[in-house]
């Protein structure tokens, strides 16, 4: 089909878009376009990052001008197409427009620096041709045809890129270890076992630009001397897996994977191993055990996988985001990459903005941005104009940072100094309605459940910490509990086998450090100031606001609310179970927790 002169419609078709209803929008667009009434054609792309406005369509006119529309529904499709045909823009739906990039939500994108996400949302991830048209696979061809493995490692080393899976180990150095390791067979593994609650950058990259990861793997495999690679991807990512399958098959057809790739005598192939969804399998030794068909449990290091990895052979494991940056680094030069960022943290980092942030979505920013820039300039600040309270960096292994640390730089060392970690890139924003003790309890309940059970400090220690937190939230905390948590946390951090246990206490330690008053409120004053912990709150109705509509009484599951029609109602505190259904239902916002 010739596309010349036609308007291009690109539908965001990642998991986020589909979850928001993009499938119905796609169907509607297809059937409307099939009528032939419109001089336009439809393509799909992965997540553009505007998750908060999905489903999204980017409309690009023949003259190159584009408008991104959000909040689409199947019903809105005819209206959209009519407007297009009439050459009009539907202002209310506009997310971003190329002729005024900062307008609308445009600054979400213009404040970013996209290297890893360079193609996400721009190309059809199921088309190798579209990837190649962006210069894709040129870097792999260049490395295989004109560079020695050592030169490739040096280039990556020069870029200063550090492992984006969380630990931040310099990638070039890691490759160097695997290159130097002795072994008749070496393996490369792409760690796509993204498991932090609130983190979805790897999924978005795999769904939006799988070829960038594959190309990164081809380069990495050549550099370290691995002819066989695995992508360890969780089975809960069916779309990512499907697009990887399509991409790998296309690479085989093009001669980019298999025997003698890119016309050289170098063999390289990739197999996908589906993980069954254990958080701990993101830890490299547990991941290796899982690929080998064993229960995913970590083992102590040393020996490191670079020397004894998969099937006992030298193995190099890199994260999705790291690998996706590699082709760019080779194509543009390590020095170009290193020109972005801070002294010790180079390049960019992809963050998943989630929680109470106004623009929840996927954002890539240069290292050296402040957290404030990420959350406010890119993320648009806190939802409903509420006050920012904290940001949880690095998921359940990370820490909660208060407003006073908003000027901390996005930099491995700067973030580590606060007690949080860069982690894989989850950023969960909390506002005044978030109880920090409850948040710490939530994250610990996650790590506790995901502990593999192998070592004692993690298996029983985090359980005991969780029990203390649960008691505090239930109003049964004791004055000594804060110290108990700190003492136990120190031994768990020092004594655990792997990073899961070693970092599990971080959310507790950072909330104890930065939000100690909330712990004291719970324990000493029997109060949950955020109004979250059921045992510590009382729900009340403001008589001056209540109109007596009875909506609250209707939803109350325990009939704790009474009152005459059109007269202020009241809640019987003894019967109330603090489910807060009434609070969410009241049209006048007359119900509050104290």
């Amino acid at each position: 089909m010739s596309t010349d002169g036609k308007t291009k419609l690109v539908l965001g078709y990642g998991t986020c878009g589909i979850a928001a209803g993009a499938a119905a929008v796609k169907e509607a667009l297809e059937s409307e376009l099939a009528t032939g009434k419109y001089d336009a054609y439809l393509d799909i792309a992965g997540c553009m990052g505007f998750c908060f406005r999905e489903p999204i369509v980017e409309v690009t006119q023949a003259d190159g001008k584009s408008v991104v529309y959000g909040d689409l529904t199947a019903k809105r499709v005819p209206q959209l197409l009519e407007a297009l045909a009439a050459g009009e823009v539907i202002e209310d739906w506009v997310v971003r427009r190329s002729d005024d990039p900062d307008a609308g939500e445009g600054d979400f994108l213009s404040n970013q620096h996209r290297i890893v996400l360079r193609n996400c949302g721009n190309i059809n991830p199921e088309s190798i041709e579209e990837y190649i048209a962006t210069g894709g696979y040129d870097a792999a061809r260049k490395v295989l045809n004109s560079m020695t493995p050592e030169e490739a490692i040096d280039e990556v080393g020069m870029s200063g890129i550090r492992g984006r899976g969380g630990a931040g180990f310099p990638t070039g150095t890691k490759w160097g270890f695997a290159r130097k390791a002795k072994g008749d067979q070496k393996y490369l593994v792409c760690n796509a076992d993204e498991g932090d609650p609130g983190a979805f950058m790897d999924r978005s990259v795999l769904e939006g630009d799988p070829h960038s990861v594959i190309e990164g793997m081809i380069i990495a495999g050549y550099a370290i001397g691995a002819t066989q690679a695995y992508i360890y991807c969780r089975a809960e990512y069916p779309l990512a897996l499907k697009r990887l399958d399509i991409a790998i098959a296309a690479c085989h057809e093009m001669g980019f994977l298999g025997k003698g790739i890119f016309g050289t005598d170098w063999d390289f192939d990739i197999r996908i191993k589906k993980g069954a969804g254990a958080f701990v399998c993101g830890e490299e030794t547990a991941l290796i055990a899982s690929i080998e068909g064993k229960r995913g449990m970590p083992r102590p290091r040393p020996p490191f996988p670079a020397n004894e990895g998969l099937w006992g052979k030298p193995t190099n494991i890199n994260n999705v985001e790291t690998l996706a940056a590699i082709p760019w680094i080779i194509a543009k030069g390590g020095d170009k990459y290193a020109s972005v960022g801070t002294e010790k943290s180079k390049g960019t980092k992809v963050f998943c903005l989630a929680g109470k942030v106004r623009r929840s979505g996927l954002a890539e920013v240069p290292m050296g941005y402040t957290l404030r820039q990420v959350i406010f300039d890119v993320g648009g600040g806190v939802r409903e104009g509420k006050e920012f309270k904290a940001v949880q960096m690095g998921g359940p292994s990370g820490g909660c940072l208060p407003a006073s640390l908003l000027d901390t730089l996005v930099d491995y060392d700067a973030i580590t100094a606060t007690g949080a970690i860069m982690g894989s890139g989850g950023m969960i924003v909390a506002d005044s309605s978030t109880c920090m003790v409850d948040l710490a309890r939530y994250f610990l309940s996650f790590t506790q459940e995901e502990s593999c059970g192998k070592c004692v400090p993690c298996r029983i220690g985090t359980k005991r910490m969780l029990e203390i937190l649960t008691r505090i939230c239930a109003g049964e905390g004791e004055a000594e509990d804060m110290e108990r948590l700190e003492v136990l946390a120190a031994d768990i951090k020092a004594g655990s086998l792997c990073a899961l246990g070693g970092t599990a206490p971080n959310p507790v330690l950072t909330t104890l450090k930065y939000f100690r008053d909330e712990y004291e409120d719970h324990i000493l004053r029997g109060k949950c100031t955020a109004g979250v912990c059921p045992a510590l709150i009382t729900l009340r109705i403001r008589e001056d606001i209540c109109t007596g509509c009875g909506a609250c009484a209707k939803v109350c599951p325990v009939e704790a609310i009474s009152g005459e029609k059109k007269e202020p109602h009241s809640i019987d505190a003894d019967t109330c179970i603090r489910c807060k259904l009434c609070l969410s239902r009241c049209p006048e916002e007359a119900i509050y927790a104290e």
């Binding site: 102590p300 593999c452 059970g453 192998k454 298996r459 359980k463 005991r464 029990e467 136990l488 020092a494």
Partner: protein, 352 residues
């Protein structure tokens, strides 16, 4: 193997580069406590009791898993390490029955010994405790996972040493526990009832049913002998109380079996005290088996052998030996067949 020099707790020692810190310490008379480590298996690094401080290393390292290097300086009992060990023991005890009084393994329990040594009680961490059903679904092995410390030794000895793999961990986190696929009874699993899991379990989580209640470790006399079942020569310790064998174990890293036994060696002892056991020769006289002396019995055998030889030739006779005899005994029997009787008709039950 390269010779190396290192220092543990101020003591200079010489060892070889294939050793772990734990092995090097042990060989030099230094004790580093451990729970999940056992010499018959690969190191595992789970219990964290053997954590040590290695100069220049990031974080604490498990002595059982860490290979020594030249110039390594190790500290095994710093304040931090002692504190962490106590915490770990306390955590284990916080989910462990306090029934040492009646526990089968009292006196033979590595957890009990360490709790004693470190003066640990479980008072600091109250919380949920597991209450599993005691599994006694077969005549030999009983499992009480309330007492399991998840050292993985049963799982590993079954897989690494026996090559069977009956167990693995099931569930996650606090609820992790060793199990048999689909929670089937042991009789329906590939278990060979060698009892190797019993032999390595550091607590009373896996015990031998036939030995239950029959004697504490200090109440029995251990009599070293060689297993009579085959020619391997595994060393046995018969646990004898009041003239009765109440249990059989094998000393770890001793003899050809290195402490490993099969089902016959470990559990095949009731014949010793069985009333049907043959304790003297019997000669069939007029269709009846009649007790006889050794002299008479051997004379009878010799007489009949000679009769057969003289009448129908040596090849009318065949000798059938047994795997329960030693190699030397089997050698002598074939010598008797070939050199004395003159036949090559020699066979052995283990060939069948």
């Amino acid at each position: 193997m390269e010779k190396i020099h290192m220092n543990i707790d101020g003591k200079d020692i010489e060892t070889t580069s294939d050793r772990t810190i734990l092995e090097a310490a042990r060989e030099n008379g230094l004790r580093i406590p451990s729970l999940c480590n056992e010499q018959r298996m690969e190191p595992y690094g789970a219990c964290r009791i053997c954590l040590v401080e290695v100069e220049g290393a990031r974080g604490l390292l498990p002595a059982c898993y860490t290979t020594v290097t030249d110039g390594m300086v190790v500290r095994t009992a710093t304040d931090e390490l002692m504190r962490i060990r106590r915490t770990i023991l306390e955590l284990i005890l916080s989910d462990h029955p306090k029934d040492c009084m009646t526990c089968e393994s009292t006196g033979n329990c590595e957890l009990q010994d360490l709790a004693y040594e470190y003066g640990v009680k479980d008072h600091r961490f109250r919380g949920e405790e597991h209450h599993y059903e005691v599994l006694a679904d077969n005549p030999l092995i009983e499992r009480d996972y309330d007492k399991c410390i998840l050292c993985g030794r049963c799982i590993r000895i079954c897989r690494e040493v026996q090559g069977v793999g009956v167990y693995d961990f099931v569930n996650r986190g606090f609820d992790s526990v060793p199990g048999i696929p689909y929670n089937k009874p042991m009789m329906e699993s590939p278990c060979e009832f060698c009892g190797q899991c019993v032999s390595t379990c550091p607590t009373g989580a896996i015990i031998s049913i036939p030995s239950k209640g029959k004697g504490r470790t200090w109440q029995v006399e251990k009599v070293r002998t060689t297993c009579p079942y085959c020619g391997c020569g595994c060393q046995l310790d018969l646990h004898v109380r009041d003239g009765e064998i109440v249990e059989v174990s094998s000393p770890v890293m001793v003899g050809p079996g290195q402490g490993n036994l099969c089902v016959k060696g470990r559990y095949g002892y009731p014949f010793v005290h069985h009333e049907d056991r043959l304790t003297r020769p019997l000669i069939r006289k007029g269709g009846e088996l009649v007790p006889a002396g050794w002299e008479e019995a051997l004379e009878t055998v010799s007489k009949h052998l000679r009769k057969a030889m003289d009448g129908k030739g040596p090849d009318s006779i065949a000798f059938l030996s047994s795997a329960r005899c030693t190699n030397e005994e089997n050698y002598l029997l074939q010598k008797l067949a070939r050199a004395v009787v003159g036949t090559n008709n020699v066979d052995h039950c283990a060939r069948l």
